[in-house]
């Protein structure tokens, strides 16, 4: 009896479930299509990062450590080396003054080595110049540039741009000999927008008076963060007495600590990023700019820029892909006209030059001058030594 009743119960449950599934069946196929189209309509499909350290010399160790810590976080969260353009203006790991060669530390007492074993620096040393940086951003590189040195982004790319170094009101110093101004940077971003080289751009800068660098942006979909306002200096964090220099700047130190807690599935959004370094910790006031950004910052995930998170939807249904067929027009056959042989004009009439005679000196001093000069010289001579020498001349 009990077994019978349980069997009936089981069977009814099964039918119910089957019905449900049955009802769901056609619905399921509809939602796959909807989900597939939705997949392609939202936001970005790939992530890029351009990380630049602009200063050289040993005492700017902290700038290299800043850039390498952001590189480390970005790689850990999924962006591959092929999508990261890392520009370091000096080599701290192999610097003669580094007491621990092949390492770059971000925390004192050598807790965290941000150099690691698999750092790939794309632009190193003297290759980090304003010209190269702008060419990377705008894509105007010579044809011989290898892929690792190019920013091959498209209009579905989210790009993270991180700059650090010494800066001032409206400029950032590159390598102690040149600078990039905020106007140039804003124009570079506009070029990127017009060439459809980004979907959304996150610009982070850690320098003195960093907020001045994003004041002039005017392209859409750009969000900017800076470590200090105009008129303020960004300060460095702690020195390590064994290495002898300051290891990190405050803003990037707390940014690194914040990013260490982020994992690829984390839902932390930009508002958390804006709170990263309050004035009590950073001394300077970090700033941000979101007016050019179309989405609400609270809906922008950290991993949209710092990670390369892939949305994966698993389905066993078949999805119909609508073919995109365009008419192949018949190419008109080109009529090849015989071109007349063309040649360059002779640049240098070499034959004439070889057989040229040496030029004669055309100018001669006027006779009056020569006469006057030598008369004067004779007069001086006779005045000094007496007229009695005159008889030796005549």
């Amino acid at each position: 009896m009990a077994a019978c009743r349980s069997a009936v119960l089981y069977l009814s449950l099964l039918t119910l479930v089957l019905c449900l599934f049955g009802s769901l069946g056609p619905v399921a196929t509809d939602s796959v299509e909807a989900k597939a189209s939705q997949f392609f309509r939202s936001g970005h499909t790939n992530n890029w990062a351009v990380l630049v350290c602009t200063s050289r010399f040993w005492f700017n160790y902290r700038h290299v450590a800043n850039t390498l810590s952001v590189y480390r976080s970005v790689k850990r969260l999924g962006i591959p080396d092929s999508h990261i353009v890392l520009m370091l203006a000096d080599d701290m790991a192999c610097n003669h003054r580094n007491p621990k060669p092949a390492t770059v530390f971000s925390h004192k007492n050598m807790e965290l080595n941000v150099y690691g074993d698999d750092v790939e620096v794309d632009y190193r040393g003297y290759e980090v110049t304003v010209e190269n940086f702008l060419r990377v951003l705008t894509g105007r590189l010579p044809r011989s540039t290898p892929r690792s040195k190019r920013l091959l982004s498209d209009d579905r790319s989210n790009i993270l741009i991180y700059l650090t170094g010494h800066g001032g009101n409206g400029f950032l110093k590159f390598q102690d000999s040149e600078e990039i101004s905020n106007v140039e940077l804003a124009d570079a971003f506009e070029q990127m927008w017009q060439k459809r080289r980004y979907n959304e751009l996150l610009f982070i800068i850690d320098t003195c008076q960093g907020a001045s660098m994003y004041e002039r942006f005017y392209s859409p979909n750009v969000m900017a963060l800076a470590s200090s306002q105009v008129g303020e200096d960004s300060l460095s964090h702690q020195p390590d007495l064994a290495i002898g220099v300051h290891l990190m700047d405050r803003y990037t130190f707390y940014l690194l600590e914040f990013l260490e807690d982020i994992h690829p599935a984390s839902q932390a959004n930009m508002n958390d990023l804006f709170k990263v370094c309050p004035s009590s910790l950073c001394v300077s006031t970090p700033g941000h700019r979101t007016d050019l950004f179309h989405r609400d910052p609270s809906s922008v995930l950290i991993t949209d820029f710092f990670g390369s998170v892939r949305k994966v939807e698993i389905t066993t249904e078949a999805v119909d892909l609508v073919p995109n067929v365009t008419e192949q027009e018949e190419e008109p056959t080109l009529i090849v006209m015989p071109a007349e042989p063309q040649s360059y004009v002779e640049q240098l009439p070499v034959a004439e030059i070889i057989h040229q005679k040496p030029k004669q000196k055309d100018w001669h001093p006027p006779d009056g001058f020569i006469l006057g000069l030598w008369t004067l010289i004779l007069l001086v001579f006779f005045k000094t030594y007496g007229i009695k020498h005159l008889k030796h001349i005549f």
Binding site: D176, S177, K359, K361, D362, W363, H364, P365, P366, G368, F369, G372, L373, L376, V380, K383, T384
Partner: protein, 435 residues
């Protein structure tokens, strides 16, 4: 003494000839410390080439030499190396003869003062003996000819060597006592670069001293002599300038030469003080600072000649040093000229206080000039501040040298008048302070 001088001359000519034939000659001719826009050889060649093409050489900002240089080099341009070597030789011989005569004058004055018993007892160790003074002229010629600065300047074929020759001849004529020749050579030197006009005062003082005319404004003979000398100088200058007009039938050379020296439009780095300041100056302050900088050269002669009116040759030395520090386009050739005089004051050695520091500074800066130039221009890891810092330190070193010799000279004069071991009124030991 002619034989050692001949040996020195031969050695100097050999060194210069060897350097002329080597590949260093082009390298040195491009160094900014050795040539300036005023006296670079390639500008002379360019000017003469322009003249051959039928264009006045003063058009554009290329050529800033006087017409007499054009005349000289028009004929000897193929033998220019000999011209510069001969110029160095003339300078050395002129300085040799001048210092020989000067030593005679000094020795004679000393003898009269000793006979008149004007020196206190304990000062006898300070008196110069003929034995000390015997080798000084040779040392002067040696110092000039074998000074690396002179050799560099000669190998670079900078016309500074010709200017030095004219100034040396002027000094020789002044010390020999010929007012007319000295006025002529001074006019030539002033005609080439304006700054030697300040040497008018020491020359006048020397000639007055030689004729035993006291330097006081009430004495009519003073005014007569001064007027005579002034008229001769100005007359020769006017004659030379007018003669230069006839070379190219134009007055173009006046703004090109004198306007260039005074208004400093070319700011190529050199070892002077002008270029850095004027590179960063606002236009509306330029005239003011130009006047301030140029007055520095011309002004110091007034207080110095009041203080040193009994010692005109030392005044000449100081003024040449001041010219080569504060002029608008100094080169190492100018420095070589006043350094040649240092053996004349070798008896001041015991009173010099900073000589070690000064020599270290000058040596170190001379070594650092090419290093920082390379770092700035070629390596790109320094900037103009580094080079100007070395310029400043070098000029401070020179000023220290000059003021040290000034202090030592005055101190010796004071000792000669008041005794070597000075006592205060209460008998305790006194010290001399330069105020």
């Amino acid at each position: 003494m002619a034989a050692p001088l001949a040996v020195v001359l031969i050695v100097a000519v050999t060194i210069r000839a060897v350097l002329f034939r080597s590949s260093l000659a082009e390298l040195i001719a491009q160094r900014v410390e050795v040539v300036s826009p005023l006296n670079a050889w390639k500008r002379v060649v360019e000017g003469l080439a322009l003249l051959d093409l039928g264009v006045t050489p003063y058009s554009g900002d290329v050529f800033h030499e006087t017409p007499l240089i054009i005349y000289l080099f028009h004929f000897v341009i193929d033998y220019s190396e000999f011209v510069f070597m001969i110029a160095d030789g003339i300078t050395a011989v002129a300085l040799y003869l001048a210092v020989q005569d000067y030593n005679k004058i000094v020795f004679r004055k000393q003898k009269y003062a000793l006979e008149a018993d004007r020196y206190p007892r304990d000062v006898l160790e300070l008196i110069q003996t003929p034995k000390d003074m015997y080798y000084i002229p040779l040392k002067v010629a040696l110092f000039y000819l074998l000074n690396p600065f002179t050799i560099l300047s000669c190998v670079a074929q900078s016309t500074c060597g010709l200017n030095n020759a004219v100034i040396a001849l002027f000094i020789l004529c002044t010390i020999k006592g010929s007012a007319f020749l000295s006025a002529v050579f001074l006019a030539l030197a002033t005609y080439q670069s304006i700054y030697p006009i300040t040497l008018f005062a020491p020359a006048l003082l020397f000639l007055l001293q030689r004729l035993y005319i006291p330097v006081s404004l009430h004495c009519p003979r003073f005014w007569v002599q001064a007027l005579q000398y002034g008229v001769m100088f100005l007359g020769s200058l006017v004659v030379i300038v007018c003669l230069s007009f006839f070379l190219l039938s134009s007055w173009d050379f006046i703004p090109s030469v004198y306007g260039f020296i005074l208004s400093v439009p070319d700011l190529t780095p050199n070892i002077g003080l002008f270029w850095y300041f004027f590179a960063e100056m606002f236009e509306h302050f330029r005239l003011f600072f130009l006047c301030v900088f140029q007055i520095n050269v011309f002004f110091y002669i007034i207080p110095l000649s009041i203080k040193l009116k009994e010692h005109p040759v030392f005044l000449m030395f100081m003024q040449i040093a001041i010219i080569s520090i504060f002029k608008s386009y100094p080169t190492v050739g100018d420095i070589a000229l006043y350094m040649a005089f240092l053996p004349v004051w070798s008896h001041l050695y015991r009173f010099l206080r900073n000589i070690f520091l000064v020599s270290c500074v000058l040596l170190a800066c001379s070594a650092l000039f090419p290093v920082l130039w390379h770092l700035w221009i070629f390596a790109g890891s320094a900037n103009s501040n580094f080079y100007y810092a070395i310029t400043l330190v070098f000029n401070v070193g020179q000023i220290l040298l000059v003021s040290d010799y000034f202090y030592a000279y005055l101190r010796r004069e004071h000792h000669m008048a008041h005794g070597l071991y000075l006592k205060r009124k209460d008998g305790s030991e006194a010290t001399l302070v330069l105020k």
